[in-house]
Point group: C2
Chain length 416, copies 2
């Protein structure tokens, strides 16, 4: 079986690369996911899965874990494909998101972010690693199982979801629609490390108020930008304090286990006026096991304790908005953890690395709200995700696919 | 004569306030000045001035001192009204701009910025002090001269110009059209201080480059915002150094004689991505007597000397754009300085204050490019200019107008 799968992968690498290219060529930023989902839908139909296309609706929007910057998902359907097993096996959700973050400054890209260019054994493009590469690995694994004539005992539920980058509404909608399994595998780009724990995260918006004045008499105003520098420094200190407290050995190799990232700043409307408002948007990591509300409180306290008379009189406004990912964890000795580790070591001859995820994924929702213990394990690396010139190594994508075939067979059971 | 003018002012205060309200009610931000200029044009025609309406054209755009963020001024005409004297007197340019800066955050305004609301002896609205109040003082002075039947020996050239807030193209166009005089008076809001010197200023745009990454592994990227904090601090140090060197006694009461103001910041496009570019726009003051190019060089050096390995490898991009005001100065014992001082002390009974202007005005252009020594002296104060809830004291506006009548008569000479 080991050789059969390896040979199949070799024979189908070109198919895999072309599939990934097609996925990348669909610009699927938030609100624009329909085209790529139709492509996935077609792929699942060819694999004889029973396909369910649906948009997040009222049940999802009214769910306590719902968190999004929109309520209209018309152009953003989920695609779920079910491959019924013959019975008596464990079921598995394969979950991957198709939404991507915006490409950033296009001048930084050597090629068009949506080209899917192949070069030096890599496929380039926005979403290559986060996570259309992982999605391709899963689709190839299912194709391999089909073409090798393998029938599974347990069900496979393939979830191609939207909105992971902005709060997990896609996965939440799959949960509210009733999809559950004995475990879930999410091939986010872990560089083939296994992540049983993942931090949560949530988005904040700060408004820092100053007082406008003519730039030539700027001492008559209060620069919201100068005050923002104090706010940025307070956030840096908070990040440092929070991370110094983390002793979990799964985080020991991660420079900043649970980062607070400032992603966006905007303010002022005239070069020679003192800016009277700055808006900052960012993402705060939530430690596995920490309550979201506790993390929010820490941010609030950090902002309130900035020693600046102006900011004491004119407090920074703090709002939690848009995206939110619950932290989540499964036991390190969960049976699926064991299976992943065993196959990794058997196929690659290397030791498996188990770490805590530096970012939130939909695994938090699946584990906490969907009763489905979730493990994150996939090809690609976040060093290139959300970056210009994002890419994935073709070898890694094919290796992941090969491993997925063995993991699926082992978890779900082989009927024939 | 002193009483006649005072009585006329008292009788015409209501007219003045209503005229100012009408000027404020025309939103005349850059590109939107046509409506207010038609109003001024009508006023000048009623005063029997010969009116010249023209837009800045090729001669202006190709002038070495031209500096603007646009070349199309179709909707932004200048209005110049000439009142020919009987001969044998000194000519005077009365120069005022009608363009205003944007109102900023409208929530900070108690009333609509374009209401022209009258309350507690003040007229409120964007442009009230900078400088539609000063313009009203001048128009009232001309109306007073006409209604008191006074004929002048020297010519009055009333220049209602555009684009002062963004580089002086309006005044430059009046210069290239040939308007010159023996002196100019610009009633910018000096709080009735007399400004024989004015600093120049120019706008800069900085681009700070980082490297994007996923916010959850933000240590894999380089935050352009964190680097921007160093840049902001370098600019603050440069401002401090430059100002410590200024010993001119005319600046002794000004907290920061020649400020560098950062007016605008924007960067990043996703809360959970590391921002890979920040753009900062600001205004650098130029010391009277300092060459613009020398000031530019100081900024360049300050940015280059930031001790940060990343910024050494990825230098901050520096661009000078949009607006620029030349510094300018006339002698403190210029005859018009004397006349202004004498009438101020005679009418108000207070000592006149002579200072250096904390901001650039079109006086730099008039003095340096238009061969017309210019003095800035007017009602209102920059403490409220470019601010929410900008206003002007009606008493001050009327006092300025009264003084202008006497100053004009004294400078141009009375023929009858």
């Amino acid at each position: 079986m080991k050789d059969k799968v390896k040979d199949w992968m070799k024979a189908n690498e070109k198919y895999g690369v072309e599939l990934l290219q097609k996925l990348i060529q669909c610009d699927s930023v938030q609100g624009n996911e329909l085209k790529v989902q139709k492509l996935v839908e077609g792929e699942l139909q060819q694999l004889n899965l029973t396909v369910d296309r649906f948009v997040p609706g009222e049940e999802t929007i009214s769910h306590p874990a719902f968190c999004a910057n929109r309520t209209d998902f018309k152009e953003s359907p989920n695609i779920v494909g079910v491959l019924k097993g013959s019975g008596g096996g464990r079921s598995l959700i394969l979950n991957g998101h198709v939404d991507i973050v915006p490409p950033g400054n296009k001048e930084d890209w050597k090629a068009n972010p949506y080209s899917g260019e192949v070069k030096d054994g890599r496929v380039y493009g926005r979403g290559a690693t986060d996570m259309k590469g992982g999605n391709t690995s899963m689709l190839l694994a299912l194709k391999c199982l089909k073409e090798l004539g393998i029938t599974l005992k347990g069900d496979i539920i393939f979830e191609s979801v939207v909105e992971e980058e902005s709060g997990g509404t896609g996965t939440l909608a799959a949960i509210t629609r009733g999809y559950r399994a004995d475990a879930a595998l999410i091939p986010e780009p872990t560089k083939m490390k296994v992540f049983p724990k993942q931090q949560g995260s949530m988005w904040f918006r700060l408004k820092i108020t100053g007082r406008s004045a003519h730039g030539g008499t700027r001492y008559e105003g209060v620069s919201a930008l100068e005050k923002s520098v104090s706010v940025i420094q307070a956030i840096q200190s908070l990040e440092k304090e929070r991370n110094e407290q983390i002793t979990d050995p799964l985080y020991q190799n991660i420079p900043i286990p649970v980062p607070i990232n400032i992603g966006k700043i905007t303010g002022g409307d005239w070069p020679s006026s003192v800016p009277d408002q700055i808006v900052i948007e960012g993402r705060m990591g939530v430690i596995p096991g920490e309550a979201m509300e506790e993390a929010k409180l820490e941010m609030k306290r950090a902002l309130e304790s900035i020693e600046d008379p102006w900011l004491q009189e004119n407090p920074v406004s703090l709002e939690w908005f848009g995206a939110r990912w619950l932290p989540g964890e499964v036991e390190e000795n969960h049976p699926l953890m064991m299976i992943i580790g065993d196959h990794f070591e058997r196929i690659t001859g290397k030791d498996v690395t188990i770490e805590a995820s530096p970012w939130g994924t939909d695994g938090g929702l699946l584990t906490e709200e969907g009763d489905t213990p979730s493990i994150v394990f996939g090809p690609g690396e976040t060093a290139v995700a959300h970056f210009a010139n994002e890419y994935i190594e073709i070898d890694q994508m094919m290796l992941a696919s090969e491993l997925f075939v063995h993991i699926i067979i082992d978890w779900c059971g082989k009927a024939n």
